[in-house]
Structure formats: C-alpha cells, structure tokens
C-alpha cells in the first residue's frame, strides 16, 4: 500500500522533456486500496453482520483493468512508472421493474425501507453491496452508492429479486443503465488553478467565492471535472471508461500548471497521509477482531 503512495509522490520531472506521457491509469477497486474512505465503509459493513471475516466487499466486485494508455517510447527507461489511481466512489444506476409498485405496502412490509411521502418515493438500503435504492410507484428505481458498474448491476438485481420474492411483485429486471459515475484521483503535484482557469476561459469556470475548485466540462465525454489546488480531481461522467478518458484528457493540461511542493509542504503531506494510514489500520484491526468470533 505504501508503495502506491510512494509512487504517486514521485515528482514527474523525470520525464525529461516538458511533455508528459500518461503511462498507466489503473482504475482500482477501493477494497484493495486500504487507505480509501470508501474501502473503510465497505470492509466495516461487510465485516459486520456477515460472518465471512476479512477482505473487502467481495473479491469480484469490479476490478476494472482498462487497456494501458500507450506511451511513445520514453527517452530513458524509468525505474518506477508514475501511476495515477482513480478511485470510483459512486456509481448511480437506474432501471425499471416494469410493474406498478404500491409504495405504502412496501413501506409497511419491507425490511430496511423508509417512505417519504413528500418526495413520493421509498428508499431501501442494502447491506451487501452497500447501496441505497430509491423506488417510485411507476416502477422506476434508482440505485446509488455502489463502487463499480458490475456491483451496481448486482445491487440492482438484488433489489428486483427482493421485490419479487419477499413482496411478490411481478417484477422484471429491465432497462438497466448506469447514469452517473463519480471518481476521484489525486495528482502528485499541486496545481495553480488561477492560471489554469485563465488559459481555458470558456471551458473552465473558476469562481473562488462560490467554490474553491475549477469546474472543467468536457463536452464530448459529457464529463464534469472539479480541479482543486491541492491536486485532487473529482470527475462525474456517464461511465467508468468516460471517467478514465477524462482524467487522461485533463492530465497534460493540468501538468502544465503544476507546482512542485516545497520540502516542508511535501513533508507535511506525507505526515498527514501516514497518520491517515495508521488510523485506518487501527480501525480495520478492530473490526477484523470483532468478526473473528
């Protein structure tokens, strides 16, 4: 784990020429990336009621291996490749069960549901995968909180299955599509967002009074990226591959405005990360102890 962080912390100046080649962008399953906050939630919740202790929220929950973004031959072979890890935090999907749902009946007889009359929808939370499904009386259901496209599909099917079995609706799984994917990634350098926003005046919107980040829209991918001065970037896009393409698109643009951290700042950031690692290790140890009973 520390290896990933160490890689990310390497300065990019080893590239030699001013241009940067995005070598590898790996979309990581947060369960395998222990320091991630989502991973924490997943492991905690999975270690709770399920007796299967240890390990993230199930192995095959979507480790996406996209094709390597090919770089042209570098000037000199590099000892470590700069890797940017994109963590997918949220996948929102929508599907239909193609039958009318009686919300009051579901609210009274279902488990883990809550009914909000003013919105006209029933929210059902599932433990594994940890997701929330919002159902409308028309039969349309929106499922949020999953961490990969495959997991979203599993969660959606589980909701439909629950409606079918427990509440005996003639439910069918139709029209599943992923609506929105939220991913975050951190650049190993800080970014001068004021200059960045001035270079792209129409596409990038920076209003320091309204939001501390630059909002950059990529129209052909339908992606919206928020770029922050610390180097974090959040992307919302219609699919996981779009998220990856968006990051690849923005990387050279942002690399131009990088600001290498001064030694004190780098030390401070490393100390903060080490602290975070230690805390998450502690919590995971506690939870795994609990589930080993």
């Amino acid at each position: 784990m520390s290896q990933i962080w160490a890689q990310s912390a390497q300065p990019f100046s080893r590239s030699g020429s001013g241009t940067l080649h995005v070598r590898t962008c790996r979309v990581a399953d947060p369960a395998s990336l222990r320091p991630g906050p989502m991973a924490l939630v997943q492991t905690l919740s999975s270690a709770g009621p399920m007796s299967a202790g240890g390990g993230g929220g199930g192995g095959p929950s979507g480790l996406v291996e996209p094709p390597l973004v090919a770089a042209s031959a570098p000037a000199a072979p590099e000892p470590e490749e700069p890797v940017i890890d994109i963590v997918i935090n949220n996948v929102v999907s929508s599907f239909s069960v193609s039958c009318h749902l009686d919300l009051k009946h579901i609210a009274q007889n279902g488990h883990n549901v809550e009914y909000r009359r003013e919105n006209g929808m029933v929210t059902m939370k599932m433990r594994r995968p940890y997701t929330t499904a919002s159902m409308w009386s028309s039969g349309k259901i929106t499922c949020t909180g999953s961490t990969s496209e495959a997991e979203a599909r599993v969660a959606a099917r589980r909701v439909a299955r629950y409606l079918q079995k427990e509440l005996s609706y003639p439910a069918r799984f139709r029209n599943f599509r992923v609506v929105n994917v939220l991913g975050t990634c951190t650049m190993p350098f800080s970014i001068k967002i004021a200059d960045f926003s001035q270079k792209y005046p129409r596409i990038a919107c920076y209003e320091p009074e309204l939001h501390p980040g630059v909002t950059y829209r990529i129209n052909h991918l339908k992606a919206t990226l928020k770029v922050f001065s610390t180097g974090s970037i959040t992307v919302t896009a219609p699919s996981v591959s779009a998220v990856q393409q968006a990051i690849e698109h923005i990387f050279p643009l942002v690399y131009e405005f990088r600001k290498d951290k001064s030694p004190e700042e780098a030390a401070a950031a490393a100390a903060a990360r080490a602290r975070q690692l230690a805390e998450s290790d502690l919590e995971l140890d506690d939870s795994s102890d609990g589930s080993d009973d």
């Binding site: 800080s190 129409r202 209003e207 320091p208 009074e209 309204l210 501390p212 001065s229 610390t230 600001k259």
Partner: protein, 316 residues
C-alpha cells in the same frame, strides 16, 4: 393659391421660378426662393422650442419637452398615450374618487422589464453605484430577457446577477455577499443565475483580484492611506508572486493582509471587525493569516514604517 382640389401640384412656388427649390427659414417662418430671394410662404409654423432653458439642473423638468425621454430598452412598441396621475382638484369627483381609474394598460413584457429596472436601480442606490453600472446592468437584463434562456428564474435573481456582472465588467467588482446584502435573493441562487447568464450571453468576466476590494474595505474601516497601500502590496505578493495561499479566496487573503498591515501600524483592527466589513468569517482570516505570517518579512513593502515590528505581530 395653394393647392387646387384634386390635382397634386407643388404647394407653393416662386411665381418667377416655379421649379426653383425653396429654402425654409424656420426662425422667421418663411419659405424663400433660392434663385431670386423672394419670400413666397409665410406663417410656416415654427418648430423651434417654446422655452429657452438656461439652467443645467438635470432634476428640474425641462419645459421644452412634452414627455420623458424614450427608454430604448423598453421596446419601441409603446407610443400610446398614458393618462397621468391624478393631480389638482379637477381630477376628482365630488365623492373624492379619482375620475380616471384605469391606468393599467402597459404591455406585460414591458411591465416585467420596468419592474426589473426599478429593482436594479433600488439595489444600486443602496450601495451607491454610479449610473454607468446601472445602465450596463439594465442592458444585460434586457439581453437576458430577450434571449429567454433563463425564463423560469425569478426576475429579482436575474436582476441581482446582472448587477453583479456589470460591477465586474466595469472593473469594480462587488462580492456576492455585498450584492446579497441589498437583495432578497440567496447567494446560492445569485451564483447559479450568474453562471447561467454567462453561458447564455456567451461572455466571460475577469477573475477577481485582491486589489479590487482594498480601497472599499479600508475606507469602511477608516484605515489611513499608508496602511491601505501596504495591505494592497502584501495581498498582491502573497497571492500572485509568492503564491503562499493556494486555494484561498482572494477576499480572505485581502482580509488577512489588511489585518497584518493594521496590526503592524498604529491603528490596529481586530479580526472580527475586518471580518464584518469583508463578509469573511474571522476563523477564515485566521487561517490565511497563519499561512502568511511565516513569510511576513517578504510580504511587507520595503518602505513601510513599522509601529509594531514583525516579530511582535500576533500569532493568532
């Protein structure tokens, strides 16, 4: 003499030179033949002004005018006559009711525009904005209104956003909070309308800098001129040249710079006072100040005379 019935002839002509062009002299009310100088027309109605106005007082009604100036923004469709307000005894009946009651016939699109212009003028008046900003704001509003992209939004919100944009475009930006203070719309809504208007009109605005607000904040705090200059210098160095405060809003940096400059001079202001004027929370000033304090020696202008030396600047 003039026109015979039926046949169209030139109305008046010089008897000696019927084809000659007539020169009209408005002062005397004559029409003069251009060839021989004979005066052929008389008592042509003088279209000069009735009154001679000498006072340049804008507020006094100009007696030469029959009505107000036409407002180009309000659409030139409205050339109808409007009955004015009831004044004088003759406009009231014996019971005390006004005789002419129906005064409502203005076209509805004009009504929305007029209301919005009045709102903009009111808001601008509260913060004493000059006429140029108000006019620019009215123009923006008319453009947005005609474009109809923001049709669903409240007109007051669009008006506030137009005022904000015009202040920015004139080079004297006001913070969102200052516009909120004179408007009943929330900052969030004004921000949303602002972004939508920029997209609808396909314009961009310059980014705000720390120096834009210095004179206003310092004047409200009644700080002497040399403190204001020092604060401007500090803020510019911190934000632009040394980039010590990444990601901080320029307003917060400006407030922290004012705090630093005032603490080093005789007239010390507290963070709370500065926060009240600038619309920034005092913890925010504290955070920016903490970032700036380690490099205070580089930030101050070289010719600043310190009432309190840099080592004694407060740590908070």
């Amino acid at each position: 003499m003039a026109s015979s019935s039926g046949r169209k002839v030139q109305q008046i002509g010089c008897p000696a030179h019927p084809e000659a062009h007539l020169i009209e002299d408005y002062r005397a009310g004559d029409q003069i033949c251009s060839v021989c100088g004979l005066v052929v027309g008389d008592r042509v109605i003088d279209v000069g002004s009735e009154w001679r106005t000498f006072s340049s007082d804008k507020n006094a009604a100009d007696p030469s005018r029959v009505g107000g100036a036409e407002n180009k923004l309000l659409g030139s469709s409205d050339l109808s006559t409007m009955i004015g307000d009831a004044r004088g005894a003759a406009s009231f009946t014996a019971d005390g009711q006004s005789k002419y009651q129906n005064r409502r016939q203005m076209s509805s699109s004009d009504r929305a525009l007029t209301n919005a212009f009045r709102e903009i003028a009111l808001m601008a008046d509260r913060i004493s904005l000059p006429r140029t900003i108000v006019d620019r704001s009215n123009n923006l509003f008319k453009q947005v209104h005609d474009g109809r992209n923001l049709k669903g939004r409240s007109n007051d919100a669009i008006a506030s956003a137009c005022l904000y944009i015009s202040c920015r475009q004139e080079g004297v930006p006001r913070t969102f909070k200052e516009i909120c203070a004179v408007s009943k719309i929330s900052k969030k809504e004004i921000g949303r309308c602002f972004k939508l208007i920029l997209k609808a009109l396909d314009t961009t605005v310059d980014m705000i800098t720390t120096g834009d607000f210095m004179s206003r904040f310092c004047a409200n705090l009644r700080l002497p001129n040399y403190v204001q200059r020092a604060a401007t210098y500090i803020a510019r160095r911190a934000a632009k040249e040394l980039d010590i405060v990444p990601g901080r809003s320029p307003i917060s940096v400006a407030a922290a710079a004012i705090y630093m400059a005032s603490q080093a001079s005789e007239d010390k202001k507290t963070q709370k006072e500065i926060g009240d004027i600038a619309g920034v929370a005092d913890v925010t000033i504290r955070q920016s100040y903490k970032l700036m304090l380690p490099r205070a020696a580089e930030l101050f202008p070289p010719d600043f005379n310190f009432h309190t030396p840099i080592e004694d600047l407060p740590e908070l």
